[in-house]
């Protein structure tokens, strides 16, 4: 199985500068989106904590928002993967 041994170090990959730039740009945009969501969570807890007590379907906003931050990290990560559209050579399907 690949990776179980200690073979020679993997060769340096050949890069496509345009793809690298595009991925970096997409990454920064998605980072900004998540930063806004995370910043909202931290800001509300620090400066408007009473907002976090609001009930939605019997559970307060603090719990919903916290769970939402965890789920949205995964959703944005999957969006990023889709946007990158890496070539299939990335680790046997790595760039799904």
């Amino acid at each position: 199985m690949a990776g179980f041994g200690h073979g020679p170090a993997a060769p340096q990959e050949v890069e496509d500068p345009a793809m690298t730039r595009r991925n970096a740009r997409n990454g920064l945009w998605l980072f900004a989106v998540y930063l806004a969501i995370y910043g909202g969570f931290v800001g509300l807890n620090a400066f408007r904590p009473e907002v976090m007590t609001r009930d939605l379907a019997g559970i307060n906003l603090a719990v919903w928002y916290g769970l939402g931050l965890i789920v949205s990290a995964l959703v944005l990560a999957l969006v990023y993967m889709a946007l990158c559209r890496a070539p299939a050579s990335g680790g046997k399907g790595a760039g799904a």
């Binding site: 990776g3 200690h6 920064l28 965890i70 680790g91 790595a94």
Partner: protein, 583 residues
């Protein structure tokens, strides 16, 4: 609390450790080159690396520390889960691919790819070493806490066992071994946390109306005299007393005595509308005698499921600006710290290309995110199941498992133990890589051939292991997650400014990077050492004295020291760029 060892737990534990060591020896026999020892020759498959990310990351702090904090203070523990996971977004979107592109073995490689500066190598290697050691402390503390109920050993004995076993793992193998140990451990941790959560939901919530459940408890310690618990000598024999495990539901919605099985949202809804008994600790000192009184405090579930109950976030709901700044500071450090941790960063060199680095990060986020959602239920489950050890919050998850039977306790404890083993292995590899590759070869210019690098790396691993053992004993009883918060603050202050500016600002100079790292590193360390939390929890001052003596207005340094790292880097870069241009 005094723990009695269980034969079943010991057998399961020994099997787990034997398998872990067996894997290490097997893979270790194949590690001959420095590339193999420090970076697995870049051959780890992306999926394995992704789950191994989770294995590395879900350390004692996550499993023991967060569950413990959640069980004692509710939502405040979940803030750590949220912050730890959010940090992966920075790693994926900003750091992963450029870092893979720039580096070879260590974090310093990436920073140095365009400068080849001895100053950067020194600063980055030192930072990696210090952050790794800071991160080792909570792992060793967690190990000591685990061994106590599992094998009946004292805390220090547990720390020594972990230190010795882990050092053996690292010395015999290196990155391939730690990767596969982490892969197995990460998978098992999430799987069994899921099983434990299902059992918690199936058990539901029940009211404990026994009068003794509400009786305060005391521990009196006087040097040279036996410790007294509830007025009697500490022990399990006749005429002796031990602390009771605590944590129960005082009232359920509709005044029912038991809910029966609940779905996940139903569980959270019920907790929010219940009254749960939390415990506060009051410490008084009279001469040499120290008395800690634990007092039950019935608390509304709606109060538990929002931030602000723990001493860490005290007054967050009030008008205290310093409390709010402390909170902002910690959440910033957690967000920025993940992408700055050397043992996380070096895992990007174990896969073969940027696409694999990206894919393994997404797998890591999915695995880690799932686990952190489960921590909410594990923590609340421990809070309401009478499974809290008042002297050590790190024991909540294992004791919760014990409430479902010895076998589950044995498995969970063994997984938690391998969690510590795996994380400590990764940290020691990162630390020895920084020491050998960066400081010894890069800074001091010691000429080492490839196989000598591996040998010196292994000797360094033994040294780091010894340091970890000593620190693990010194920091006994502190919450593992709280301690990791420090490591995140130091890592984010020292490493993140350099990483980000090298990637995104062409004006960055080697002097700017060097001084930026050193400024962030030293300022965050100094801030932590003179903060009220450290004065109270490490130096042993009473909370009032600690607050008076603290030299900084709040305890978490990130809000000041992360920007300081950026500002230092920018200012020094601007000054030195002009010098370079002129010359």
């Amino acid at each position: 609390m005094i723990s009695e060892p269980s034969p079943l737990a010991i057998v399961v534990f020994v099997i787990f450790v034997a398998i872990t060591l067996g894997l290490s020896f097997y893979f270790g026999a194949k590690a001959k080159s420095a590339a193999g020892y420090f970076a697995a020759s870049g051959q780890i498959p992306w999926f394995v690396n992704g789950v191994a990310f989770a294995g590395d990351y879900l350390s004692a702090a996550s499993f023991l520390g967060i569950c413990g904090m959640l069980s004692r203070y509710g939502y405040d523990g979940f803030l750590y889960s949220i912050g730890y996971l959010a940090g992966w977004v920075v790693a994926l979107f900003v750091i992963a691919e450029p870092l893979k592109r720039l580096g070879r073995f260590t974090f310093a490689d990436a920073l140095n790819s365009q400068f080849q500066s001895r100053g950067i190598t020194f600063a980055a290697g030192t930072s990696a070493l210090i952050v790794s050691v800071f991160y080792l402390i909570p792992q060793m503390v967690g190990a000591g806490a685990l061994i106590k109920p599992l094998l009946g050993f004292a805390h220090w004995q547990g720390v020594v066992i972990v230190g010795v076993v882990v050092t053996m793992i690292v010395v015999t193998a290196g990155m391939v071994s730690t990767t596969y140990v982490q892969f197995i451990k990460g998978s098992l941790l999430v799987l069994f946390s899921g099983i434990l959560t299902v059992l918690i939901l199936n058990r539901g919530l029940s009211v404990d109306s026994r009068p003794e459940a509400m009786q305060p408890q005391t521990i009196v310690t006087t040097p040279g005299s036996p410790t007294l618990v509830n007025g009697l000598p500490h022990g399990r024999g006749e005429g002796q007393a031990d602390l009771r495990p605590v944590g129960h539901v005082n009232r359920l919605p509709g005044d029912v005595s038991s809910t029966g099985p609940l779905d996940p949202l139903g569980y959270l809804r019920t907790v929010q509308n219940s009254e749960i008994v939390l415990w506060t600790a009051q410490t008084t000192v009279d001469g040499d005698t120290k008395t800690v009184t634990y007092v039950p405090k019935p608390t509304a579930g709606s109060d538990i499921l929002r931030p602000g109950l723990s001493p860490l976030f005290k007054d967050l709901r009030g008008d205290s600006l310093t409390s709010k700044l402390n909170f902002l500071s910690l959440m910033l450090a957690l967000f920025a710290g993940t992408a700055s941790l050397p043992h996380v960063l070096i895992r990007y060199y174990t896969v073969k290309d940027q696409a694999a680095a990206r894919a393994s990060t997404v797998v890591g986020i999915a695995t880690i995110g799932t686990f952190y959602v489960l921590t909410l239920f594990l923590g609340l489950g421990a809070m309401t199941s009478g499974t809290i050890d008042l002297t050590d919050s790190n024991m909540a998850a294992p004791l919760l498992a014990k409430s479902f039977g010895e076998l589950l306790f044995a498995i969970i404890s063994a997984i938690a133990f391998t969690t510590v083993l795996g994380t400590v292995s990764g940290l020691i590899v990162a630390a020895s890589g920084a020491m050998v590759h960066d400081l010894l070869v890069g800074v001091l210019g010691v000429p080492l051939k490839d196989h000598h690098k591996v040998r010196v790396g292994k000797l360094t691993a033994v040294g780091v292991g010894l340091v970890a053992i000593v620190l693990g004993i010194c920091f006994q009883g502190m919450n593992a997650s709280f301690l990791v918060g420090w490591a995140f603050s130091v890592a984010a202050s020292a490493n993140l400014p350099a990483l980000v500016m090298i990637l995104f600002w062409k004006g960055t100079t080697k002097q700017g990077v060097t001084w930026g790292i050193l400024a962030g590193l030293l300022s965050s360390l100094a801030w932590i050492l003179v903060s009220a939390d450290t004065l109270r929890d490490v130096y042993g001052f009473t909370p009032d004295d600690a607050a008076k003596l603290a030299l900084v207005p709040f305890s978490q340094p990130g809000l000041v020291t992360i920007p300081l790292g950026f500002v230092t880097l920018i200012v020094v870069s601007l000054l030195t760029r002009r010098t370079v241009n002129n010359s």
